[in-house]
Symmetry: C2
Subunit: 313 residues, 2 copies
Amino acid sequence: MQVTPIGEREIGAAREYFVGLHSRLSDAWASLDPGSAQHRDEWTRPPTDVLAGNGRLSLIELGATFDRAGVAFSDVSGAKLPAAASERHTGIAGQPFRAMGTSVVVHPVNPYAPTSHANVRLFTARGGEMWWFGGGFDLTPVYPFDEDARDWHQAAKAACDPAGPSVYASLKEACDRYFYLPHRGETRGIGGLFADDVNDANEEVGGDFEHCFALIRRIGDAYLQAYVEVVKRRRDTPFGEREQAFQRLRRGRYVEFNLAFDRGTRFGLQSSARTESLLMSLPPRAEWRYDHHAEPGSPEARLADYLKPRQWI
Amino acid sequence: MQVTPIGEREIGAAREYFVGLHSRLSDAWASLDPGSAQHRDEWTRPPTDVLAGNGRLSLIELGATFDRAGVAFSDVSGAKLPAAASERHTGIAGQPFRAMGTSVVVHPVNPYAPTSHANVRLFTARGGEMWWFGGGFDLTPVYPFDEDARDWHQAAKAACDPAGPSVYASLKEACDRYFYLPHRGETRGIGGLFADDVNDANEEVGGDFEHCFALIRRIGDAYLQAYVEVVKRRRDTPFGEREQAFQRLRRGRYVEFNLAFDRGTRFGLQSSARTESLLMSLPPRAEWRYDHHAEPGSPEARLADYLKPRQWI
């Protein structure tokens, strides 16, 4: 199936949604962590012959609720699309491109509150002749709760269902597959959604630009609501040094995935993206211990069972 | 130039050197950190149709002198050489191979004592028809000292000079090029040596198997002596929380390099190497702060000048 080109109007509408989502997410984290400073800035990358861009960033670091809560919007245009941008559309590597989107990673202070990540984005090449949306969200608990995982996946399914009956199952499976640490034999967390190829040539999602864009908006909106809920539910759980120590080790795994496997990060490193925005996803502190194993039967040992793909609905 | 095949005798001699170096390095770290436990183990990977191997490991973790001092010997044979094993010898990707060597990473407790890394290795393919040594060492200070950098490079040069007059300059430059974080615009540290292609077809190094092997032995031996010296010189320097905080941030950079760029780590992740040995190079703790900059004129700000290639001799 052929992709129907899009124009400035469609690209502008997507940009407006991404900017608005950046602002809503930033406001949400600020209201969950009212006593902590939130750094906000806008940046423009001076255009060169290969790259130009602008973006917005908000960040709470070492706050009362969040160790790190970062939201980045960026809109980058380049003369040559790096190969890492897409596994499927290898034919357009080296072509002029524009990549825009909003991504967010939140590491709460409380080890009972899970880390979360979401990203919604639009890639276009050759001014809109080729385009595709990507988007999704995933949850990474340190101490997992079935209730949280079910609610998370319920929100994911509700966002997908209007796009087609098999969309949730497909994006859920893609998420389990993508956020996987092969060297550890475990998923990054309990998953969610991962879409990398949403356009009118995608037979699974189906539909035109508006149909695809509506799915991406529902994904962004669902993430915001679902994550605020789980943070409110867990942020006041009492915890001590034991839970924090385990949290730091689990954050080591998060760093491993992001630096060694995450395609977005690798794309960023290849395309000379703004390093500080790119690495905002890393936790403020991570630890590694040689051959660490949780004591059998301990609350920490429970996590392993959750780091295998599972049906939550 | 053609590579002259080697046989079991040469491969066995290399193995013996690597095992002996593993043991000498392990003993050296133990004697620099006499009060701390040193974990030692041997492992065997049950052979499958694609991979078999064995190895030895020693590790001091959270000791009095060393936050982490790990030495790993491994000898791994496989049915198909992963592409990441060599950038140059792409022709033998997919061939039966054997990779053996000793690698070491040491992160001292004292922020004035630099982190160091060394690796000596032998790759063979098709039973010795194709082979090459690799090896080198590099130093990563948190608070740099000219004296340490000069002594380090002096030791590097002395190890190279018997192999030919341009060998040091060539391996020093390769080291500066390899241990580079493009997204940070800085080298990992003050460099040293990096050789990835040492055999009798290498015109720079010249000579037969014995000539190449002798160079690799001098590199391994020089590392041991030079690093023990710098640790003894710096380990008792008084320090406080300020220096430790900066050390943790610099260790974040070390993690970035190793997970995102290091070819050895990427080879290991691709070849399902033993994860715990592979990630032994990571520091026990690392931190990231958004947009951190050392105060101009501070001792921390001095480091930036050292993270550009420089002639130390």
